[in-house]
């Protein structure tokens, strides 16, 4: 199928803005993790570009009206990367950025894994892996019962790659293709790591794209740090009519902090030593992208 342009145009200026947002998000992730002294680093950092793209460009949503009926739905299945969700939501205006410093603390709305009831704007509670996609599929089916195939809503589900070990995902993958949920887009964070090591050592997923194709999904593979790639894939996913879409987004774990990048050890811990904290803060003064280097704004 020929690539289809997103109906929204992604101008150079918009890309600059998204790069700035992604950087703000990464810095907030790191500061909230340093303050929390526990939590996950690699996944949140590597998904910052995709979150910036979704919340500041693609999603139909209203941070001041989080329960707006006609909003797009974004289900975060791998709830452990919630520092990126919280940071993005804060920068998008769902709640004050200062609240990010309450992450994982007693009484905080920012639970260690997302709790829908406590924080407006969350579509579901998640953390236990492998069941977010089922919920997104259920949402899309329920919406179609009410609004038919011409529903204006898009349903996004973000999953990890290690999470695809869970059998529940494949039950949901079968159901989505059976129901031909064309307004459902899954974005897989293909960072190749999970807690115990590299995904291909723990439980090989490859050929991952072929697996999804075999389940009758529309499959795209992209550079998860390239806004043009992300935009083109999301646009194409929306244009596909008779199938659900998956975007396998290749990302670099801990993207933005070279000292932590590509190391599965950073899956589930925050920077804690003075050296680690220093390395993280320094690196985020300047963030790398596939397209070259982007100057960080002079925040600090």
């Amino acid at each position: 199928m020929a690539p289809t342009q997103s109906p929204q145009s992604l101008t150079e200026d918009k890309i600059k803005l998204l790069e700035g947002k992604a950087l703000d998000i990464r810095r907030s992730i790191i500061e909230s993790l340093i303050e929390a002294k526990s939590g996950h680093t690699a996944g949140p950092l590597d998904m910052a570009d995709i979150f910036a793209y979704l919340y500041f460009h693609a999603l139909k949503h209203d941070p001041k009206k989080p329960d707006w009926e006609y909003r797009d739905r974004l289900v975060l299945s791998n709830g452990h990367i919630c520092p990126v969700l919280y940071a993005t939501m804060a920068h998008a205006g769902y709640f004050p950025v200062s609240e990010l410093m309450t992450l994982r603390k007693l009484g905080s709305r920012l639970q260690g894994h997302p709790h829908r009831e406590w924080l407006p704007g969350l579509e579901t509670s998640s953390g236990p892996l492998g069941c977010g996609l089922s919920q997104a599929v259920g949402m899309a089916i329920a919406d179609r019962m009410d609004n038919g195939r011409s529903s204006s809503k898009q349903f996004y589900c973000l999953t990890g790659d290690g999470e695809l070990d869970e059998g529940n995902n494949w039950e949901a993958i079968m159901l989505a293709s059976k129901e031909k949920l064309q307004n459902l887009t899954v974005i897989v964070d293909r960072n190749n790591i999970q807690i115990d090591g590299f995904t291909e050592d723990i439980m090989p997923l490859n050929p991952l794209a072929d697996k999804w194709r075999a389940f009758n999904w529309h499959v795209q593979e992209i550079d998860g740090h390239n806004f043009r790639d992300i935009d083109r894939a999301v646009g194409e996913a929306k244009a596909v009519f008779d199938k659900p879409s998956v975007i396998i987004a290749y990302t670099i774990p801990s993207k933005g902090i070279p000292a932590f990048e590509r190391q599965f050890e950073w899956h589930g811990k925050p920077p804690t030593t003075p050296e680690e904290i220093d390395a993280a803060r320094k690196a985020l003064r300047e963030v790398r992208t596939f397209g070259g280097r982007v100057k960080a704004p002079d925040h600090d």
């Binding site: 509670s125 069941c131 919920q135 089916i141 529940n168 949901a172 159901l175």
Partner: protein, 340 residues
């Protein structure tokens, strides 16, 4: 005597008492609930006929979703549908839902606070010849331990119908326990039902005491849930004819527990026997014991499966084999009276 206020089946103790499967009442109730509210939907994991969701599917095909043999997806997708405003009823055998998909139920339904209604059919040991793999005798325990979860175990098809209609009207995650076999119809269309309300089905004449003597109203009481309630009633009726005064409570809603009614009954009887087709560990009897230990300690004996798996056999044979027949209930009532 049977509580006249509850308009129970007058032929309850007859040999030819009408018998209906409890699951059938669920199927009827689901259609009625769907008639009343278009947000009621049905999802089934490849057991549409035997869980009695078929009538709903025929009447409302556009509100039915066939899930295939995938109980984890059944629970989690239902949560997503509830998030969009639906009242999903999900069905399978209790062994698989809530058996296999417990964590999805806990996280995506209960923690997420979505109004999914879980109907677990073929619960209990009386599933019979299918054997131990298919006999869900742990389901009450694993669901009543989940915060927010409402747990209902109807005693007959009529009560299952009413429980289904009532569950569709609440926003609570709810488990409705259903059984496969035909069992005696105890209640009637006119018997009142309310989630969370225990009912005294059998209230014998109160004991008489000589001047200056004091004692409890009854010799003992049985608290039963599910189809075994019929056996409990038969035992109480029999003992009553022999001069023993034994009350019987139908505890259809196991959670939230009607603590006031349970405590009052313990006060009136001074000794309790609980009866359920479930493991003793963690079941309805445990819920009663937790309540009474904290509020009004009295001797309690438990009828149920004693930390064993089931096996193939005829339903009645199995109930007897695992110590839940009338003889066992009678002996246990006599035992608990001695402990008073």
């Amino acid at each position: 005597m049977l509580n006249p206020d509850l308009k129970l089946n007058a032929k309850l103790f007859d040999k030819d008492v009408d018998q209906q499967p409890i699951r059938k009442g669920f199927g009827e109730g689901l259609v009625l609930a769907a008639d009343a509210n278009k947000q009621v939907i049905g999802i089934c994991a490849d057991l549409t006929e035997s869980t009695h969701m078929l009538a709903f599917r025929k009447k409302y095909p556009e509100r039915f979703l066939e899930m295939g043999v995938a109980e984890q997806n059944l629970a989690a997708a239902a949560s997503g549908m509830a998030a969009m405003g639906k009242i999903p009823f999900i069905t399978s055998y209790a062994m698989f839902s809530p058996g296999r998909n417990w964590e999805q139920i806990r996280t995506t339904i209960a923690y997420n606070n979505q109004p999914v209604k879980i109907a677990g059919s073929h619960a209990g040991i009386s599933v019979g010849p299918d054997g131990g793999t298919h006999q869900a005798i742990e389901d009450i325990a694993i669901l009543r331990v989940i915060p927010r979860m409402v747990v209902i175990s109807p005693c007959d098809a009529n009560e299952a119908r009413k429980a289904t209609i009532a569950a569709a009207k609440t926003v609570s995650p709810t488990y409705i326990r259903l059984a496969r076999e035909k069992t005696p119809v105890i209640t009637t269309d006119d018997t009142p039902f309310e989630i969370g309300k225990a009912q005294i089905f059998f209230a014998p004449p109160e004991k008489k005491y000589a001047k200056g003597e004091r004692g409890t109203k009854y010799d003992a009481a049985i608290i039963a849930t599910g189809a075994l309630l019929h056996k409990a009633l038969a035992v109480a009726q029999d003992l009553s004819s022999k001069g023993k005064s034994v009350a019987v409570m139908n505890l259809a809603t196991i959670k939230p527990l009607d603590e006031e009614a349970v405590i009052r009954l313990a006060h009136d009887a001074g000794a309790i026997v609980t009866v359920e087709e479930h493991q003793i560990h963690g079941g309805m009897g445990s819920a009663v014991a937790e309540c009474l230990a904290a509020n009004h300690p009295v001797p309690i004996e438990f009828i149920g499966v004693k930390d064993l798996f089931g096996q193939s056999g005829k339903p009645d044979e199995l109930v007897e084999h695992y110590g839940m027949g009338e003889m066992h209930i009678r002996e246990t009532v006599q035992k608990v009276m001695v402990r008073k």
